[in-house]
Each structure stands twice: as structure tokens, then as C-alpha cells.
Chain length 316, copies 2
């Protein structure tokens, strides 16, 4: 498939529109990098995911916001083709996270986590959302992920994310999630912690034995791999010259990955491999700007161009 | 090219034998890993390089050994098809290095470096060696690398290695080497140090501006990339389940890389890309055993099988 075909065709194909749902957070982030600092920048797992995925087609978003959440931020999402019906408006403040990156970018310190309205979040999906075929359960308390999942009666392929806190404190619930989903995305630290294995391949295989068909292991600047019972695909990261803010890169990876699968409407080996490249591309745009400033304005032809470039860099 | 063709054909092709020379060290290494320890195991950059490259065809080796160097170790090299005429025998002890790996494998501490006969090494290549087309200058004092290089009158493609010590203390000489060679292999730490740049892509580009046509950047378990003025190829490491001893992995990478180029007898983009895969394969065998125990017994069909597997893992 050449670039010209792909750039011009997605909007005009006869396929049904992508049937993709994300359940996750909408947040304001205060981020300090070695070079700069932003107060209350738009963030949250569902926001990053949707900003990446919406370059491919429509995305349904479920989450919760407080009274401080700017109408202009919701408008930004809608302007990208994100369905915001499933966003609950609650009394109180929106989720607010603060973090700081060390000069080497590899160490992130959480400065504060103010859950605010997130503490009362119990997803109640609009009826139209329940028909979604492709579902991403962004990082959340496993019980909340299961509540959302139970409502997705038409699901074909579900991928979940998680984090060290849930692995440490809510392992039995997380293991239920692992038995219910098709795939799990983990970073290297999470995989090691969940599996109790230092070697990442062995760790991923051990997570596979907990239930999911696929484990996607994200290693940041070192790339990512996907492993399944009969699948194994590994690729380096797209070489970004200058990282501005790594926040949200994992969610943008998931956004590109899931959107590519939802668009193809199958989970054949080639689709999964291409989806890994798309996720790598959307993550690479994410880290090039603060918050959603870069990924939030990328259109499909730019994603396609970088996909081709990545293919070029990684093909013998 | 399929596996069957490749496995059976190299020995029977009508091509001239590989014209490959390595100048480097022969050593005894005392190595402590998180799980084990070996005293005076066979090592050295030229030994690792030759053990990897000799799976492809004959290799000429130049270096220096002391009176303690075991005849059986030289025999081991000759049995692999290594030409040992260029190994100088000197009074005194052979080069002896001791190192220890931290439990995470990522930190290596040098316990001692006894240069011994290496201090008096000034390569004088046998006449037949001077006709070599493909030359690898393993890690050595840059002035010694230049002495060797000056004797390679028939060289077509020369790649050098170096280390932090030379970057720190002998930079002007090293810069001369960089202007004379076609390629340089560096690990991430060396590239950052030589370029004064944290971002590896920018670091590699800066090293390119110092003279070589290609920079091969090795990131250990995170893979490697090759960058040139009009070339860019990146690939993940082969997924090794259990690392036994990482010593020599970089030299084995160089051995597979250079042997694949010497065998193809060209430096076309596809040859360089395939050579990066072969280097990744030979390095992966290296780390699976102590010293040269694993790579030293691998034959071409095994290398070819893993090459195909790596291709499978990394191709969309």
C-alpha cells in the first residue's frame, strides 16, 4: 500500500466507521521537565489515547470531570471527532496529577496525585457505547475496569493498561481483569513487577500465562514488543531528535495501536504488527510536545508519512 | 533467500573466500556475574570477533600474547578457520582483565586491567594480511589502530571500535582514526561521551560529522542502529531468555557484522542492513554462554536459523 493511497483513502473507503471506545481519565497535569514546566495542562489517559486514535477515525470516550474542567478542552476533543457523551460531569475538582522528570528523562517522580472526582467514578456507558467492538481500558482501579467491561456486550477485542500501584495493592482484582481481556499493555517496570521476572521476555510470557492472548511491552525510547502464544513482534522506537514531554506516550501508543486494529476490523498477525508501528508513531508525536500540543494536531497523512519512514528504518 | 539455500550454499559458492582481518586483543578474563564466576577464561576483542566471524568464513587475526597463552587456545582459533600467523608471541604475561556485573546486568565494574604484553604491542602485519579488503580495528589505543591501518594497503571498508578511556585521554588521535575509517562502532555511553550529546540519534549524527560514513550504535539488550549520511536502520536485540555473560557481545556483534559484509563483498544498503541482523545474532549467542563457550561452537546453519527468526520477529 503506498503513501498516496493511504493518505487519500481512509475517509472515502466503504468500510463502517471505526468502533472504538476508551474508558479512562481526563486530567490536568502539572509537569516539570529538565527544560520547562507547565501548570494544569490538559492530560489524562483517555485524553491522550483519544487524541492519538482520533487521527484514524471516531473515538468514544468515557470518563469523569469536575466543575473546573474547561468547556474549551471538551470542545478540543469534539473537534477531533471524539464522542464525549460518555463523560460524566461531577461536583468537585477534576483529577490533577503533578510529576517531574529527571535530567536523564528516565526517572519520573510523582509530585502529587489528587484523585478528586475520580474517587467517585463508576462508569455508566451510554447505550451507543455498549456496541463498541474495540475497547481500551486505560489505567484505573481494576474493579472499575471490570465495571466498564461488563457493559461492553459487543466487544471483539479488549486491551487493558495498569500500573504499579494496582499490581502492588489490588493483584487479585487485576488478575480477574487479565482473565477477561484480550491484551494488556505494560511498561518494562510493570511487567517485571507483575511477573516477578527481570528478563522482559520471560516476564511477558509469564503475564501471558495469566490469561491475555497478547502482551504489549513498551520500553519507551527502546521500543516495544508484542508477544502472544503464537506471536512475537519487536520494533525499536521512532528516533525522536528532541523529547519535550514524555507524559502520555504510553496512552498515545495504545491509541495508535487500537485505532489501527479497529480500522482494520481484525486482529490478524499483520494487522497487529502494523498496529505496533502505528502506536510507535503516535507515541513519537506525543513526546515531541507538551501535553497534547503535538499529537492533538496531527492528521492521518502525517501519521502515514512517519509510518512509512519507520517502516523504512526497520525493514531489511 | 530461504533457509535451505543459505544453509547449504556458502561453502559451495564460487565466490572468493572472505577477505577479513581483525586487529585486537587476546586476553584472559576473570568475570563475575550475578550467578557465577570464571577465572582466566579465554577473551579479548579479537578472539570474540574472530569466533563470531569465523562461522561465515576464514578470518585473519593480529594481536599479541604472552608466554602464558595456552597453545590449546590458539588451536581452538585455528580449528575455527582463524589465521593466527599475525599473532605475536612476546615475553611476559598475556593481557588480563577482570570485571564484575551488577545484579541488573547493566552496570559493569572493571576490577583490574593488567595490560602486560599489550603495552609493547605495535602491529606488524604478515604480508598476506595486508591484502585484506575488510578490516576491523578492535578497541585499542588510537595510535596503534593507525599503525595497523597504515599497513592495510588493499582495504575497501574499515570499521573501528573504541572506548571511554581513549575518548577521554586520546581524543586528537581518536579523531584521526575517525577521519580514516569507514565506520565506527560505539555503545550508547561512548557515543554520548564522544559527541557530548545525550540524545543518541543526535550523538550519532555528530560522530558522523567527525568523518566516518557510518556509525553503528550498540545499545545492548535494547538493540542497535546504523546511521550514515543517507542511511538509517534500527533493530531490536534478539530476545535472549537467559543471559549468562555479556562480555564480548559488542565484539561478537562486530564479528557477525563485518563477516556478513566481507562475505557479500559490498557495502550496499541491503548488505549493511543484513549485516546488522547478523551482528545481532552473533552477539545473542555470545551472551548465552561464558567467555566464547557458546559463540565459539556455533556453525553457519544455526546462525542462519536465528537470522530467519529475527527477521520474522522484526518484519511487518
Amino acid at each position: 500500500m503506498d503513501l498516496a493511497t493511504l493518505s487519500s483513502s481512509p475517509a472515502t473507503t466503504s468500510k463502517a466507521p471505526m468502533s472504538l471506545l476508551v474508558i479512562g481519565t481526563l486530567a490536568y497535569d502539572t509537569v516539570e521537565t529538565p527544560f520547562d514546566r507547565r501548570e494544569r495542562a490538559l492530560g489524562g489517559s483517555a485524553v491522550y489515547f483519544a487524541m492519538a486514535a482520533s487521527a484514524f477515525g471516531p473515538v468514544r470516550m468515557a470518563g469523569i470531570v469536575g466543575e473546573d474542567f474547561a468547556a474549551s478542552d471538551l470542545e478540543l476533543l469534539r473537534a477531533r471527532g471524539v464522542d464525549t457523551q460518555g463523560i460524566e460531569h461531577a461536583k468537585g475538582e477534576s483529577f490533577h496529577w503533578g510529576g517531574s522528570y529527571a535530567p536523564d528523562w528516565n526517572t519520573r517522580t510523582t509530585l502529587f496525585t489528587r484523585l478528586n472526582v475520580l474517587e467517585q467514578f463508576h462508569p455508566k456507558l451510554p447505550k451507543s457505547y455498549c456496541e463498541s467492538h474495540y475497547v481500551f481500558l486505560a489505567n484505573a482501579e481494576p474493579a472499575v475496569q471490570l465495571e466498564a467491561l461488563a457493559q461492553c456486550s459487543q466487544r471483539k477485542f479488549v486491551v487493558a493498561d495498569t500500573m504499579n500501584f494496582w499490581i502492588d495493592k489490588y493483584l487479585p482484582d487485576l488478575k480477574r481483569v487479565l482473565r477477561e481481556v484480550d491484551g494488556i499493555v505494560l511498561n518494562d517496570e510493570e511487567a517485571r513487577m507483575l511477573a516477578g521476572e527481570t528478563n522482559l521476555i520471560r516476564a511477558a510470557r509469564k503475564v501471558l500465562s495469566m490469561g491475555p492472548r497478547y502482551v504489549v511491552l513498551k520500553k519507551g525510547e527502546h521500543g516495544a514488543f508484542l508477544i502472544g502464544r503464537d506471536a512475537h513482534f519487536s520494533l525499536p522506537a521512532y528516533p525522536v531528535d528532541q523529547v519535550i514531554d514524555p507524559t502520555g506516550a504510553g496512552d498515545c501508543f495504545a491509541g495508535g495501536f487500537m485505532a489501527a486494529i479497529a480500522e482494520a476490523d481484525n486482529t490478524e498477525p499483520r494487522t497487529l504488527r502494523r498496529a505496533m508501528l502505528y502506536g510507535t508513531v503516535t507515541a513519537s508525536y506525543c513526546v515531541q510536545g507538551f501535553s497534547i500540543e503535538d499529537i492533538g494536531r496531527r492528521k492521518r497523512p502525517e501519521i502515514e508519512a512517519r509510518f512509512q519512514e519507520l517502516l523504512q528504518i526497520t525493514t531489511v
